[in-house]
């Protein structure tokens, strides 16, 4: 199999993940998008490992070893991430990233924050299922 196929596939996966991280509002979806990005990298690692071992430049399969490494770390990361999201949801009743702005610099960004919050707030106050539907979409 030509190297281009997995490379393109992983690029697409990565772009999808990146879009998810940047655009999704639900924290769980953001975490899933992060997983997509990680797996795009894993796919690259495995593909290039095979390609390099074919040309006998690398006989140690360090790409595959690194992939296992990444999977283990990704598992730990997603565990912690989900725990945090769960805790936040229990505390705040929401997992909407746009509304979790406690680290904002107080004072100077109130106006644009308010405008954001207004648009979000109108969305969330209209109907809970609608927001969920939007988030899961």
């Amino acid at each position: 199999m030509h190297l281009a196929y997995p490379a393109v596939l992983s690029a697409l996966l990565f772009a999808t993940g990146l879009y998810g991280v940047l655009a999704r509002r639900n924290a769980i979806l953001v975490l899933m998008s992060v997983e997509l990005m990680l797996n795009a990298v894993n796919l690259n690692l495995v593909a290039f490992d095979v390609w390099l071992s074919k040309t006998a430049r690398d006989t140690l399969h360090s790409g595959q070893a690194l992939t296992l490494f990444t999977i283990a770390i990704a598992a730990a990361e997603i565990g912690i991430g989900l725990a945090i999201v769960l805790a936040v949801h229990r505390n705040r009743g929401t997992a909407d990233i746009d509304r979790l702005r406690d680290t904002a610099e107080p004072g100077n960004d109130d106006p644009d924050d308010d405008s954001d919050d207004d648009s979000d707030g109108s969305g969330s106050t209209r109907s809970e299922p609608a927001e969920k539907a939007e988030a899961t979409a």
Partner: protein, 664 residues
């Protein structure tokens, strides 16, 4: 035990007592009294044994060098001659009396333990100064005394007077100590040793290159410690401390250290005629000025403080005419009777509830309330006024005799001018001394008006000490014949001329004051006065602190009172106003030193706040603006941050690619 061991124990025991008192004071307050009194008693006994063994003969010398210093060696040395042996007994005696007295005077004081430990430490330092044969070791004791004096004057630190007085005492004495230290180094540089014996041997063989400079530098330190003009201003203010402290430190021992120091190194001073004349002028100004000031004071303790300054003037006068025997004789006699005067004054203040002579002169029968203080104080005042046969007569006459001896040119290496200055000022001061002693006695004990308050009998610890100290005031004159064996061998018996002159002027002073008092006392009824403590039944120390604090609100001045019945006011006439404030010396110091320093401080403050800080603030402005701008990006929205991160990464990658392709 050898004499040397005993002599080492003399300063060591009070030191250990002080250390134990400071360490155990909080945990075992029951031990505070024994720890205060017993080391002093033991030191007194050991000092007496050392004196008996030394016997006025060959000086006891011992030295050990702990570590080489590289240049002039500093040794732990003892040098005990007749002077040291006798002065040590005086220090031990007065310290013991003061410690016993304090157990009664400060018996309810919450800070008694630290007070007693500091008095012990002070005693130890003074004994170190007395016995030390090395000037650097002497300086250690000298400075410990300074810091102890600071703490003890400030014992009632709740009152602003005590705080100001302790800082003033410390600063003024340090002002003298800086030239003193330089003088010690110059002396060591000239003679190559800090040992007193070696220095004296070197001076005797004419090895001193700068005698005048060294003598004047040392004189500055002596003037500070012994409260001589112009550095005497701290002593009257130091009366804000408790009375036993005044008795021990500011009458009998610490102020005597300066005189004792000159007595030890007298050949260094006699090597320079100029230094002797300066010393004589200093003594004369001190004597006459302080006696005039004493006549105008209203606080009984300030009268005694100025009297101390004057009597120290006699001692420095004796040294100025080259007779250290007379100086130390007067030091010993004065130490005993002045300690007695202060301790008796403490009893009177306690009984009367006031330290103001004007208020006491309006109390009837105060002497019946404190019979012990009355009789012993009478004895001590007679000794102070140099009336025969009390001790002060013999010692003062020996000073005047030495001055006369020098004035007519019989003393070699002493300029006749110094002799005349000391003789004339000594006689004038004798007149004034008798006058203020008489005034003190009349005002304190012969008042008219309301009955004095009755607080019951004074504690035995306070009264018994008075009688113990009255003995040397009565009988020390008998030692006149024996003392020359202990000192330089010069005759100390009064000569007829000076004895008649001195006693005559003293009698005149006393009688004139009595006449003035009879004249003015009729006016006493017109002006009721009173600065009386709020808790007259309390412990002596508290009554005194309250009396000092109430003096200024009552009379508008800490030193004097507007009392028309005061004979001193009549005698001094227009001079009274100036004498009451110590001839404006404090104002002069304020104008010369305090205000320039304050102005400089204001200037520095202005430069720091307005000039330096402006640059600092200016330098901070740009980062602050940048920070404010960057802070606007901190929206709290994670996705914004990640977008910015992505954008940055893309830009960097594109840039790297462009650079790579451009290079290729």
């Amino acid at each position: 035990m050898t004499t040397t061991t005993l002599a080492v124990l003399v300063p060591l025991l009070p030191f250990l007592g002080a250390a134990a008192g400071l360490l155990l004071g909080r945990t075992a307050p029951g031990f505070a009294r024994p720890l205060a009194v017993l080391p002093s008693v033991a030191a007194l006994a050991l000092a007496a044994v050392v004196a008996v063994r030394q016997g006025g003969g060959q000086a006891v010398d011992a030295a050990t060098e702990l570590t080489p210093t590289g240049s002039v060696p500093v040794e732990l040395a003892l040098h005990i001659d007749g002077f040291a042996a006798l002065v040590a007994i005086l220090v031990g005696l007065v310290a013991t009396c003061v410690q016993i007295y304090s157990t009664g005077y400060l018996r309810h004081d919450p800070r008694y333990t630290s007070y007693a430990a500091l008095v012990s430490l002070f005693t130890s330092a003074m004994l170190l100064v007395v016995y030390s044969g090395d000037l650097m070791v002497l300086l250690v004791g000298w400075e410990i005394m300074g810091i102890c004096s600071y703490f003890l004057v400030g014992h009632y630190w709740e009152t602003p007077e005590a705080r100001a007085a302790s800082i003033k005492a410390f600063l003024v004495t340090k002002l003298g100590d800086v030239p003193f230290l330089i003088g010690l180094f110059a002396l060591a540089a000239d003679t190559g040793s800090f040992r007193i014996t070696k220095i004296l041997g070197n001076v005797a063989s004419g090895g001193l290159d700068h005698p005048t400079l060294i003598a004047l530098l040392l004189l500055a330190g002596v003037a500070g410690k012994s409260a001589q003009f112009p550095l005497h201003t701290w002593l009257p203010d130091a009366m804000a401390g408790p009375t036993p402290v005044s008795a021990l430190i500011h009458a009998a021992t610490m102020v005597a250290a300066g005189v004792y120091f000159i007595a030890r190194l007298l050949p260094v001073f006699t090597a320079s005629a100029a230094a002797l004349v300066v010393l004589a002028v200093m003594a004369a100004v001190t004597m006459a000025g302080s006696a005039l000031a004493a006549l105008a004071q209203d606080d009984i303790k300030r009268v005694l403080a100025y009297s101390t300054i004057g009597q120290l003037g006699y001692m420095t006068g004796a040294l100025a005419v080259g007779d250290r025997g007379a100086a130390v004789f007067h030091l010993l006699a004065h130490g005993a009777f002045k300690a007695l005067l202060f301790l008796a004054a403490g009893v009177i203040i306690h009984a009367a509830g006031t330290n103001s002579l004007a208020a006491m002169s309006r109390m009837k029968d105060l002497r019946a309330r404190v019979p012990d203080a009355y009789w012993t104080m009478t004895v001590a005042l007679l000794a102070l006024a140099a009336i025969p046969p009390f001790s002060g007569f013999f010692s003062k006459e020996s000073v005047l005799g030495a001055a006369e001896h020098a004035a007519v040119g019989h003393a070699e290496s002493v300029p006749g001018a110094a002799g005349w200055i000391v003789l004339v000022s000594g006689l004038v001061t004798a007149l004034l001394t008798a006058a203020y002693a008489m005034r003190l006695w009349l005002l304190a004990f012969h008042g008219h008006g309301t009955e004095a308050p009755d607080h019951g009998r004074q504690p035995v610890a306070m009264n018994s000490v008075l009688w113990l100290l009255a003995l040397p005031s009565l009988a020390f004159g008998l030692a006149t014949g024996v003392l020359p064996d202990w000192f330089d061998g010069r005759d100390l018996t009064p000569t007829l001329t000076t004895a008649v002159l001195g006693t005559g002027v003293a009698l005149v002073g006393g009688i004139v004051t009595y006449g003035a008092w009879r004249h003015t006392t009729a006016m006493a009824g017109r002006v009721p006065l009173g600065a009386v403590a709020a808790h007259p039944d309390a412990d002596g120390g508290l009554v005194e602190a309250e009396a000092i604090a109430s003096h200024e609100p009552a009379y508008g001045n800490v030193a004097s009172a507007p009392d028309p019945a005061d004979p001193g006011r009549l005698l001094l006439g227009p001079l009274h106003r100036h004498a009451a404030v110590g001839f404006h010396l404090d104002a002069v110091y304020a104008a010369l030193f305090v205000r320039p320093v304050q102005a400089a401080a204001t200037l520095v403050r202005f430069l720091d706040r307005e000039v330096v800080d402006t640059y600092v603030r200016g330098a901070g402005a740009l980062p602050r603006w940048l920070g404010a701008a960057v802070r606007r990006a901190q929206t709290g929205n994670l996705q914004t941050y990640v977008s910015a991160l992505l954008a940055g990464t893309v830009v960097l990658v594109v840039a790297a690619l462009l650079v790579a392709t451009a290079g290729a």
